[in-house]
C-alpha cells in the first residue's frame, strides 16, 4: 500500500508547495466522500454492523499529518483520521473492507470500522482504549533506536478528551524521557462525545501541557489545511532531526456526531458560527482556486475519479467473502502448540 501511497506522494522536500497542497486536498476530499459513503451505507442499514465514525471537519489536519510522513514512518491514527490514513497509504479498498467486514480486509472481519491498520506498513490498528496507542508508537521508535535504524518518526493522533487519560500522560512523559521522535497530534475539536472541554480540562489551551513534559509544541488553526501542512511538516522534520517529541494542538470543531448514531444537538450553535466551525474542506477548495492551483473543471474531475474509486471499492468489497466461522482459526496465540483450543469446536 505504501508503494501506491508513494507514487502519489514523493517525500515532501522534493515537492512544490502546489503539489503538496493539492495532494493533501485530494486526500481530504477522498476522505470526505468516503466518510459520506459509510454514513449512507450505515443509514441504509444491514450492510454495516456497529458504529460509523466520521472525520468531518478534521480532514485538513489529518491529511496534513499523513502527507508529512514518509514510507517507513509510523502512524497511529484515531477515529477521525480517514484522511491521514489514506495520505499515509491506506487504500480505499481496505477501509471499505474493514467496515463491511470482508474476509480479505486487513482485519479479516475480526475487528472493524476505525480499528484497522497494517502493522508491517507502520499503520497501527487502534485498540479502543483511548491513549493506549501512544506508548506502542514509543516502543516501535525505541526498537528502531536499538536496531540503529535512524531517521524515521512516529505520529500519534488523539482528541481533547483523550488528554485526560492516564495513558496519554504516561506515554508522552515516556517519549520525552527517551527523547523519541514522536509527533503527538491533539485534535481539540471542542467535544469528547457530548462532553465540552470545560468538563474535560481546566487549562486555557492544551498546548500549555507541553512545558510540563519538556516537549516542543505548536498550536494551529485546524480549519486551515495550509497552516496544518506547515506546522505538521515542521514538527515532523524536527522530530526526524532528533529534537525529541513534538506536540501539535489543532483547534477545530467536530462537524458531525460522535458517531453516525449521534445527532449532536448538544453542540453550541455559537461554536458552529465561530471560526472554529468553518469547514476545512471548503476553505481548502477556495484557497486552491484563489491560488489558481486548482480550477472548477479539475475539481470536478477529481471528484469524479474519487467517486469512481470509492464505488469500485464498495462493489468489490461487497463481492468478497464474509469471514466463515467454520474455517475460521479460533486461536488467539501465535504458538499453536500452546493453544488450548475450544471445547466447543
Amino acid at each position: 500500500m505504501l508503494q501506491t501511497a508513494l507514487d502519489t506522494k514523493p517525500s515532501q522536500d522534493t515537492k512544490s508547495a502546489c503539489d503538496i497542497h493539492l495532494s493533501a486536498f485530494r486526500y481530504m476530499l477522498l476522505a470526505r466522500v468516503l466518510d459520506e459513503k459509510f454514513a449512507a451505507l450505515y443509514r441504509a442499514g444491514g450492510k454495516i454492523h456497529g458504529g460509523v465514525f466520521l472525520g468531518r471537519g478534521q480532514e485538513g489536519l489529518s491529511a496534513a499529518i499523513g502527507v508529512s510522513l514518509q514510507k517507513g514512518d509510523v502512524f497511529a491514527p484515531l477515529i477521525r483520521d480517514a484522511a491521514g490514513r489514506l495520505a499515509f497509504g491506506e487504500t480505499v479498498l481496505d477501509s471499505v473492507r474493514t467496515y463491511l467486514g470482508s474476509a480479505h480486509g486487513p482485519m479479516r472481519g475480526r475487528d472493524g470500522n476505525v480499528h484497522r491498520g497494517n502493522v508491517h506498513e507502520g499503520l497501527l490498528p487502534m485498540i479502543s482504549h483511548l491513549g493506549a496507542m501512544i506508548s506502542v508508537v514509543n516502543g516501535i521508535l525505541l526498537a528502531r533506536r536499538f536496531q540503529k535504524k535512524f531517521g524515521t518518526v512516529g505520529a500519534a493522533c488523539i482528541g481533547d478528551g483523550a488528554t485526560s487519560t492516564g495513558a496519554f500522560h504516561e506515554s508522552l512523559n515516556q517519549a520525552a524521557v527517551e527523547k523519541l521522535p514522536l509527533v503527538l497530534v491533539i485534535a481539540d475539536n471542542q467535544y469528547a462525545y457530548s462532553t465540552p472541554t470545560s468538563r474535560q480540562f481546566a487549562c486555557d489551551n492544551l498546548a500549555d501541557k507541553a512545558t510540563g513534559y519538556g516537549v516542543d509544541v505548536q498550536t494551529v488553526d485546524g480549519t486551515d489545511f495550509s497552516a496544518c501542512l506547515k506546522v505538521a511538516g515542521e514538527a515532523v522534520s524536527r522530530a526526524r532531526r532528533g529534537d525529541g517529541p513534538q506536540m501539535i494542538v489543532a483547534k477545530l470543531l467536530r462537524l458531525c456526531g460522535h458517531g453516525e448514531h449521534d445527532v449532536a444537538d448538544y453542540v453550541d450553535p455559537e461554536l458552529k458560527k465561530s471560526p472554529l466551525g468553518r469547514d476545512c474542506l471548503k476553505l481548502a477548495q477556495d484557497f486552491l482556486i484563489q491560488k489558481k492551483w486548482l480550477d472548477e473543471t479539475q475539481l470536478a474531475a477529481m471528484k469524479g475519479e474519487i467517486i469512481h474509486e470509492i464505488e469500485a471499492a464498495v462493489a468489490q468489497a461487497q463481492r468478497e467473502p464474509a469471514p466463515d466461522p467454520f474455517s475460521e482459526v479460533w486461536r488467539a496465540l501465535a504458538s499453536e502448540h500452546l493453544s488450548e483450543g475450544n471445547a466447543e469446536d
Binding site: 456497529g50 475480526r110 468538563r199 469471514p323 466461522p325 483450543g341 475450544n342
Partner: protein, 321 residues
Amino acid sequence: MSLTYLEAIREAQARALRDDPRVFIYGQDVGAFGGAFKATKNLAVEFPGRVLDSPISEDAMVGMAVGAAIEGMRPIVEMQFADFSLVGFNQIVNQAATMYWRTNVPCPITVRLPFGGTSGSGPFHSQCIEAIYAHYPGLIVLTPATVEDAYSMLLEAVALDDPVVFCEHKFLYRHLKAEKLPDEALPIGKARIAREGRDLTIVTYSAMVHEAIEAANELSSEGWEIEIVDLRSVKPLDTDTIVASVARTGKLLCVGEAWPWGGVTAEIISRVTVEGFELLDAPPQRLNAKDTPVPYHHNLWAAHRPTARSIASAARNLLSQ
C-alpha cells in the same frame, strides 16, 4: 406502559436519586446527554447538580467515587463500556474492594458496567469481565437477566454497604421488555429458577438465560424438561439453589458468555462437584465463549458465543448419557 431493561436501569437510578440524597451519578456523558446508551436520560434535568459528566479518566472516576462513599455519599459510576473499566481496574479491586477490610469503613459505590456482546461491537466493546472482578475479595458482582432484576437489583446495589460491580448486558438493553416495574423482588444473593424441569439443570446468567430458555423450549418439544437457574449474582453465588436443582435433575450444564479459562462456569462446576458430587449422574458440562477476543463481524460473533442452538446440542449430549 411497557418498559425495556435499559429503561428499568434508568428508572432505578431515578428512584435512587429521588429517595436518597446521598446518591449521585458520575460518568462520561451521563449529564445533559443522558449517557452513551441513554441510561441516565433526563436525570441531570430532574436532579440538578447530581449527575456529573466526568473526564475520560476511569481511574480517577472510581477513586473519586470511593472518596465520596467513605464520606457518606452513595455514588453510581457509569463506565461507558465495561471494557473501559479495565483502565480503572486498580481503583476498583485495590481501593474500593479493600477499604472496608482495611479500615472498617464501608465503601458503598456502584460501578455500572454496560457489558457483553452485540453484533458489530468487536473486541473492545463486548467483553464479559465479571470473573476478574469476582475473583477479588471485597466486591459484589451482579448480572441481572431480566427487566425486573435490572431494576430491583440496581436499587438494592445502591443501598448495599459494599462496592458493587453491576454488569448490565447491552444485548438486553432494548431487546427485553416488561409490562411494569416489580414491587417486590428476590434479595441479592438468591438465584432464581427461571424455568422448572426434571431432566437437566442449566445454570447460567445474564443474556445467556434467554438463550438457555430458547434451547429449553426446543428440547421440551423433544420431550425433555430442562430446569434453568438464573444466578442473578455471580458473587456471592447461591450454591444452595444450584445444588438443590442438580439434586432434582442429576445433570448439570453451565453456560456463560465469558471466556473458557476460569470464570463462572468453572466456579459452579467446582462447587457442585465438591458439595454435591453424589447428586451428579453424569459428568457436568460447560459451554463458554471461544478463547479469542470477541469478533467484530456478525458471522464470527454469532459463532463465538454460546447460542440456543449450541446450548441445545450440548444439553442433548448430556441427556443422552
